[in-house]
């Protein structure tokens, strides 16, 4: 009978995890970056889905914090495209959006999202959700 859970394992000494923050709002990216860097992530930013795909092709991150409504390419279109890319199943994808109805949430999960954050959010919510997908 083992009482040691993998969730309790410290992440110290591991390679720093990377998170791509995809949001067209500079302010949201700034807040998310601050929270994620405090949690130990190396953060990169993209302002829409197209830019995010380019980032992922160059270097696939461990996590993606993803807005829904963005110019050029929305979050849901990006997610479907990401999951079809080589190694695109790898990143944990957490939506972070003002869309807070069940139909949007279900659509996101069906497209391969791992978690879903409804704005407004705070550091505790981000921390809980990243822990939920096993990144903390």
């Amino acid at each position: 009978m083992s009482w040691i859970s993998p969730e309790q394992g410290p992440s110290r000494g591991c390679v720093v995890k990377t998170c791509l923050v995809v949001d067209d709002s500079v302010a949201v990216r700034k807040v998310a970056r601050m929270i994620l860097e405090n949690l130990g992530f190396h953060v990169t930013e993209a302002s829409d889905g197209e830019e995010a795909i380019a980032w992922c092709r160059a270097s696939m991150p461990d996590a993606i914090l993803l807005d829904w409504n963005m110019p050029l390419m929305s979050g849901i279109v990006f997610l479907r495209q990401l999951r079809a890319e080589p190694l695109g199943e790898g990143p944990k994808v957490l939506f972070c959006t003002v869309e807070n109805d069940l139909s949007h949430i279900n659509e996101a999960l069906k497209a391969g999202a791992d978690e879903y954050i409804m704005k407004p959010f705070d550091g505790d919510v981000i921390c809980d959700k990243f822990a939920e997908v096993g990144l903390l």
């Binding site: 009978m1 083992s2 009482w3 040691i4 859970s5 969730e7 309790q8 807070n100 109805d101 069940l102 949430i105 279900n106 999960l109 978690e115 879903y116 954050i117 409804m118 959010f121 705070d122 505790d124 919510v125 809980d128 959700k129 822990a131 939920e132």
Partner: protein
């Protein structure tokens, strides 16, 4: 607020709930009691304390004690106790219990997040046996909220995995309503842990988290002893992180490798 008023508030909370409040934290006390002052129609906290002194209104005294207790809670708080409940405690009890129903108590349940987290876990585990979950709190207001099963958007995002939200909640306006099928799995009861608790019965698992830490030493020992007495042999007590309660005298042994999970040892059974 005069030092006398602050002292009276602290004495009331200690006498009624066993909870220790530092009299020096005047701002915290005023903050916690602000909404009670408005709700009861007083113009200031001093007026409310004055009314308690002159009228000795029991309802108001209890309302004050209730309002002073910390209310912070979350779904699946700290995560690990709930995964251990699912992965180790439930299978262990499944083997031991025979055909009896499994009885679980969330003691100091606040707005019900802990009891509902257990109900959701059991629902997902699809255990075949009957399960009875009791959520108790000193606060009537908390119990009303818990029974309603209505949570804010922020509350359902703290600790609750999204798969549970889509399966068991519906959004109405800006609030999230828990399904009747999960709500019906929990019975609610007003219990003051520092008083007689035998009325709630015997349990196989007791979650009593972030309650004991606020009590004074004597009261903590008394409550622990009562909780141990409410556990069936080999039953589990789960306390909050850093609330280690190792105390052989009450017949509880820490489960190996964990500082917040204890088991009632039959060999150590105390005579009540």
């Amino acid at each position: 607020m005069t030092p006398d008023d602050l002292s009276l508030i602290c004495r009331i909370v200690r006498a009624r709930a066993g909870y220790v409040v530092d009299q020096a934290k005047a701002a915290m006390i005023e903050n916690r009691l602000g909404s009670l002052v408005r709700r009861e129609g007083f113009s200031s906290l001093s007026d409310l304390v004055g009314a308690i002194k002159t009228k000795r209104d029991e309802r108001l005294v209890w309302a004050l004690a209730d309002a002073m207790l910390p209310k912070d809670t979350a779904f699946f708080r700290d995560r690990t106790p709930f995964s251990q409940f699912r992965d180790v405690i439930l299978p262990d009890l499944e083997q031991r219990l025979g055909t009896q129903p499994l009885r679980i108590w969330s003691a100091g349940c606040g707005a019900g997040e802990e009891a509902y987290s257990l109900a959701l876990t059991i629902d997902e585990a699809r255990a075949g046996r009957a399960v009875e979950i009791v959520g108790s709190d000193l606060s009537e207001r908390c119990l009303e909220r818990a029974a309603a099963g209505i949570f804010s958007q922020m509350e359902v995002q703290k600790g609750l995995p999204i798969r549970y939200l889509v399966r068991h909640f519906e959004r109405q306006d800006e609030a999230w309503h828990l399904s009747a099928s999960i709500r019906q799995k929990v019975q609610w009861s007003r219990v003051n842990l520092i008083s007689e608790i035998s009325t709630v019965g015997q349990f196989d698992v007791i979650f009593c988290r972030y309650v004991l830490g606020g009590l004074d030493d004597l009261m903590r020992k008394q409550v622990l002893s009562q909780l141990a007495g409410a556990l069936n042999d080999n039953g589990y007590l789960i306390v909050g992180r850093d609330e280690a309660v190792l105390d052989q005298a009450v017949g509880l042994s820490p489960v190996w490798g964990s500082s917040d999970i204890y088991r009632r040892e039959p060999a150590l059974r105390i005579v009540a």
